[in-house]
Amino acid sequence: MSDDKPVESAVRQKLTEALKPQYLDIINESYMHNVPKGSESHFKVVIVSSAFENVKRLQKHQLVHQAIQEELDNKIHALSIVAKTPAEWEVSQDVGKSPPCRGGAGL
């Protein structure tokens, strides 16, 4: 099977398996950064899951980190996370806007 978005696909599959999200959006924001066209280096994940019920804010993000540890260690340079419970998502679907790159990082 050919896949021109291997990192995005892996992230989608792993988060779906680990957290059974009700809503999942994986946005490749690499184009906003100083990386080659078509890169899969900068991502934003918007995820709504019951797995986040009664979980502290830091730990919600850590659940996401753990599920995609391999990609974070080896492929992904920057990851922005919006992690909400279904009830929180009901109240606000604001996912914000990622800040513009300031060029210093490289990969």
Binding site: R57, Q62, D73, A78, P99
Partner: protein
Amino acid sequence: MNVLLRKCSLSTLVSQPSKSTFLRCLAQMSSKVNFDELVKDKPIVVFMKGTPKAPRCGFSNAVCQILEFHGIKSFDSYDVLSNEDIRQGVKEYTNWPTIPQVFFNGEFLGGCDIMLEMHKSGELIEELKKIGIRSALLDKA
């Protein structure tokens, strides 16, 4: 090394720490940098790319902007781009894979997303109060 091991097991006895505390202890042992020392006794410490005056990453810049919005113009910061030991070490210390990382009174608060969430919800004003800083936003209202 033995002393460090004893320290770990001693703290295990005293506070019965979670797995993450133990992992942090192990990370501390393998790291060349003593992060406890870097963050303790300081109201705000930010590990970032660049400096508050010249951030070199949008996420690090956003954290500085949020703090400035609350009237905080100066705080301790470490530029991870100029020190690879700090860059890798802080990720192990907090078990958090990305930069920036924000500490209030030695406690890890989170990265850019969490600062932004707390800013939007008003919780940041409360967290600042806990460390003895009155948010400038309270005076703007």
